[in-house]
Symmetry: C2
Subunit: 340 residues, 2 copies
């Protein structure tokens, strides 16, 4: 059983995932894998994963059996979960230290049956099925009262932490609201308390006036370089109207369109960089001011620089690229059509 | 001039170091370097760095000219500084955003004249000269009233962010107290306010009773795996007695001894891993409760895993190795003598 442990100085929780139990020699060698028979996410290898919890059937495969070929998107529990779904939450102390058992959910969203397609190479219609699957899983897991937060994220490329190369996203539901999220929520609530406006709505307004950091936009969404980015080419995607919840009131077709366009611009400008993205959403028990103050968004970070001692020691980032320059490079990328 | 910019939601500052001004194609290729004529840190190449600000002369080189051979440790300003030493601090707004000019100091501590020696391969006496140079630079820069914090850190190995392989540490003085440090200081003060005891002193006491997470110790210092480590084999070194300031009341010979021993244990157990370490010290204007509540320490993190979307999204780490197991592996490493 994984454990959650809390740092007694700053209150940061960590997951000690001892079932993955790495020994010193395990860190030296990273195994490569190359699809085909060995890839558990490829169509035809459905038996290699735990049973699916959600699928989008492929066109013309409506009568498909579960855990068989004929799908476009497939969601399965992670075979090596960071947190376990079974059990009750048990919080306890160990002298001055605090811990709890590692209850949560850890799922994998397999974005395509094809091993040789990246997310940015899929038609927008298929990207819409991916973000629709995110929504379906968030709605379902929000019903579990043990969970306080659900994070959807994607690691693309080995340098960005992906251990399998077949294109996929992940979702982790946690029994506590993570530190980074509560910091954002608190910051947004302080701003709201002072101004009675959403800080993200104000950012969007100023960005649309200045026009210096916008990457692209459509009727419902805007993609921009934030004013104070941690990383070169860090990009955020936000709904233009005030929307606290990812799973409610969003046009998923337009979301798929801007996500796909942003990924294609990054891919073209930076030659297919490894990247991470994550969806910051209101916590599952968000009420009242939370919903007025918080605004869901995607944070997308190409992995171009290394985080080093200064960043670890200060929580302060050195970024060698101005966001105004990054936005200009991304706007100038000449996109081509996507095949099928 | 570099800029400091503040994120309007969570108040995180970033340094936009536009003089390093990276274009998209600069990220694709990382230049290799291999010492000898081209390495600015090698003895004989002193003209390749800005003029030195501190040196420890080599044995028998007491009458040495500045910026010439004959040194054991040499401290120089960084040629490509993240922050600039010249000027007054100018804070201003840009609509809803906040920024200031990038005033600070950025220095390099060259730990040895030899290109082929790593810090853990140096005799303890020479490691003492390195930590003595840290102290000298902290004492000197603390006199500059523009600086609120001075971070000493080391990036060892390319994967840990070192851009030059010649063994060196760095120091950055900043005009604000960084977020990670003020979080620790606040946490320690809340604990002190409640218990009238230093949280780090209490941690050391519990660890010395439990004995499960200790790596090694001597009369003045202890090296241990923290209870809630972010990374596998994350190791902290702390003075056993309550010491708020790195630059005061510490036996540098014993510090060099435990730092060297800890690095050699990590090197042996994990086959010379890349790593980062950093010294967390009380801010330069620390007074009153700060000095009662805070306890300086070194945080050392071998670079074995990749930080990915989940960590970026939550500030929550997944660690596959129990600290109790890591401490046992490190204790069991069979150290050999160091040559000269």
């Amino acid at each position: 059983m994984p454990e959650l442990r809390r740092d007694p100085v700053i209150g940061r929780w960590v997951i000690i995932s001892s079932e993955r139990g790495k020994r010193p020699s395990d860190f030296a060698t990273e195994q490569e894998e190359s699809g085909g028979q060995s890839c558990p996410f490829c169509e035809g290898n459905e038996h290699m994963t735990p049973p699916e919890v959600h699928t989008v059937p492929a066109e013309g495969s409506d009568g498909r059996e579960p855990n068989a070929p004929g799908w476009q998107v497939r969601v399965v529990p992670n075979k090596y979960p960071a947190l376990r779904i079974e059990g009750e939450i048990d919080r306890h102390g160990l002298g001055m230290f605090d811990m709890m058992n590692g209850i949560g959910a850890h799922e994998v969203i397999i974005e395509t049956p094809r091993h040789d397609r990246r997310l940015h190479q899929l038609p927008v219609k298929k990207v819409e099925q991916v973000v629709g699957s995110y929504r379906q899983r968030i709605v379902d897991l929000t019903r579990d009262p043990r969970f306080r937060y659900i994070l959807v994220f994607k690691n693309e490329g080995r340098a960005a932490g992906a251990s399998l190369s077949h294109s996929h996203s992940q979702l982790i539901a946690t029994p506590i609201v993570p530190k980074r999220v509560s910091e954002e929520l608190e910051g947004a609530k302080i701003y709201y308390g002072w101004k009675e406006r959403c800080v993200f709505c104000d950012i969007i307004k100023q960005e649309m006036e200045q026009k210096e950091r916008i990457v692209c936009e459509n009727e419902e969404f805007i993609s921009l370089e934030p004013f104070a980015p941690r990383f070169p080419f860090e990009t955020w995607i936000l709904p233009k109207k005030h929307r606290p919840l990812f799973e409610r009131d969003n046009d998923l077709g337009l979301l798929a369109e801007i996500l796909s366009e942003t990924l294609r611009r990054l891919s073209l400008t930076l030659s297919d960089p490894p990247y991470n993205y994550l969806i910051h959403n209101t916590p599952t028990n968000g009420r009242g001011t939370d919903l007025l103050a918080y605004h869901w968004h995607i944070e997308l970070m190409p992995k171009l620089t290394k985080v080093a001692g200064f960043e670890w020691g200060t929580g302060f980032y050195i970024n060698p690229t101005k966001p105004e320059d990054a936005a200009r490079y991304l706007r100038e990328a000449e996109l081509t059509e996507i095949g099928d």
